[in-house]
Symmetry: C2
Subunit: 376 residues, 2 copies
């Protein structure tokens, strides 16, 4: 909770629920990453928070941008980013959207399959392409599936094929999982990617770029290592496996830039019990799983929560959202406690909600408006 | 797939993804319920699909409306519904929203706790209130938690308290779970609710209304009983437990009115494999979990899917959405198969997507626009 956000909430008293993002914190986080990883080019993962205010500020700082869609490309271009600062980083793209991006000047694309490579060769000829490889990393709080990436041996063949198709086989990307807290995962991942560099070198292709993805954390309920330690783990991994022949490096932070910069203010709508033999306290907030807190799915992301009564005695609660959907429960098993004298009408603040909240919120579910956001 | 929808898709060729809802089917479903359950007043669960077109048509048919929020109340009033046809059916309401509804003329409210009853007594004096009781029903495809309702003995005390507070203790509601396929659940539920009528009668309070909730199904992958059989199960349960002293009856269908009336047209964006030793086919569509198919959460709702190659040989697939979110997978374990000659660019139709799709879709996740809908 920054002083600036506290002042805003006190003075403006916005209607809840709403998120307030302190742009100074986003800037500091960006500058911190630049300081700790000076060799890496930062591509902000726009999906984490696609606010024009954030994009404009980061354009001013010299950031590049990792875009998931045509919509995000337009957002960046409309807010001052140059096309040569954009990466179309989604491995799943419509051909028409690739053509659109190419026409706008985007020349850097992700892929992980033959079909995608063929689309790229067709409508984005000569562009730089990087192949995403599969990782099976442990330690990430947000689940990582096999949805993105391919096996190393397939990646090798695809990058060779890329050159045959007239593309520029530029590099390799991986992702260790969002909110990754096990720093050893970078050494494993970089080692795997480095093998690919070697294999392609033997095939006469010199890859030039390593995309280390995201995975830097925000501060939720569990303590996380400092960003410096992440940077250190990455650079150690890179020098371990590449010596002083380091390729260009890209990182794609999203959560770590904007997560901690946001506070979600919400109101306690109801506190109740279900029966005389069941003293579980249900606390219903005016924001829930469909109103911006989608990352509480399976109780994956566990936010820190502040109430006006902190410091007094607490008791267990089940925290739920305001909709008529029985699945709209935030925390039931994660062991949340709240003050015993919490009252209906109290304002409650959910910390580190700057990432993956506003844009996740449903357009009109149960007649509730999407989560409102302020950027200050 | 109705002829009207097929013609619309062929002639208009709308940009995908989009949902097309045939209003004639919604009307037929409404009339069917009226025919099979003539004693029950139909309160359409607006949250299932809050399209003004649907509300207007149902106003014309004489329907009442179950509203989850102030937003849904405004929607109904703005589209011709009279306030005395509305129920504020969410048990979790801000006091300011109750006051707003009361001011607009709404006089029927749900509750399941003392705190909610006290809010109602304060700002909606004299209104009819019904208490939702907890059910632990088996057989529903969409998970039913303990989020709504209270135990019977608490419900009894709350309804007595309601009269003390100057409210009209009007009735009881329950919900057997959305997409409930075990028809015996209604007998269990009505039996439980009937006990409450008796208990209150002994306390000198005559309840006048039984709200049987929703639970009527749409047609997903698993076969479901016909609506007539649901109606029959309900009426049998009512006469079993109330004889010919039947209270007024309310039902709150949502899914069953609009689900089967909608078709979602989507495009195959990518088909790929992850490695040479893993022949799993990944099929990526231009709609996913955050673009309207939220009910595929934990693979709960299993939609039927049509492709242009149906009838030929099929093979297993993992179906996923287009976003960069690794959790955006529709079906991985549910055993979906698709034609072996499915192609990138093919249009695929997801059936029975008229309910809980459009309003669930994220406002701008990954830069993708919310699901577009047409009502014809």
């Amino acid at each position: 909770m920054t002083a600036k956000i506290a002042r805003f909430l006190d003075e403006v008293r916005p209607v809840t629920p709403c998120v307030v993002v302190d742009l100074d914190i986003v800037r500091e986080n960006y500058q911190g990453l630049r300081r700790w990883l000076p060799l890496a080019q930062v591509y902000y993962a726009v999906k984490a928070n696609p606010a024009p205010e954030i994009v404009r500020m980061l354009v001013g700082e010299g950031s590049s941008f990792d875009c998931a869609s045509r919509g995000e490309i337009d957002l960046c271009l409309n807010n001052g980013a140059r096309a040569d600062k954009l990466s179309f980083g989604n491995t799943i793209k419509k051909k028409s959207d690739i053509a659109y991006a190419y026409e706008k000047g985007v020349r850097l694309y992700a892929f992980d399959s033959l079909a995608e490579l063929e689309k790229l060769a067709d409508v984005a000829p000569g562009s730089k392409v990087f192949c995403r490889i599969l990782m099976t990393c442990e330690g990430a709080e947000w689940p990582l599936s096999r949805k993105f990436g391919c096996e190393i041996d397939m990646a090798k063949d695809l990058l060779v094929k890329a050159r045959e198709l007239g593309m520029d086989p530029y590099g390799v990307s991986f992702h260790v999982g969002s909110q990754q807290t096990d720093l050893r995962q970078w050494d494993i991942a970089v080692g795997k990617a480095a093998m690919l560099f070697t294999a392609l070198d033997e095939a006469g292709i010199e890859l030039k770029m390593m995309n280390l993805g995201g995975g830097f954390p925000a501060q939720y309920r569990t303590d996380v290592p400092a960003v410096e330690l992440y940077a250190d783990a990455m650079m150690t991994a890179m020098t371990n496996h590449f010596g002083n022949a380091l390729p260009a490096m890209i990182i794609e932070p999203g959560r770590s830039l904007v997560g901690d910069a946001g506070i979600l203010e919400t109101e306690v709508v109801l506190i109740s019990q279900k029966g005389y033999d069941d003293d579980t306290r249900w606390v219903y907030l005016d924001v829930g799983k469909f109103g911006g807190l989608a990352e509480t799915m399976d109780e994956a992301i566990k936010y820190r929560i502040q109430t006006p009564h902190d410091g007094g005695s607490t008791a267990p609660v089940i925290l739920a959202g305001p909709t008529c959907d029985s699945a709209d429960i935030l925390y039931e098993k994660a062991g949340y406690e709240m003050p015993v004298n919490l009252q209906v009408g109290d304002k409650v603040r959910i910390l580190s909600t700057g990432a993956y909240t506003t844009s996740y919120s449903a357009v009109n579910f149960n007649g509730f408006a999407p989560l409102k956001a302020y950027f200050i």
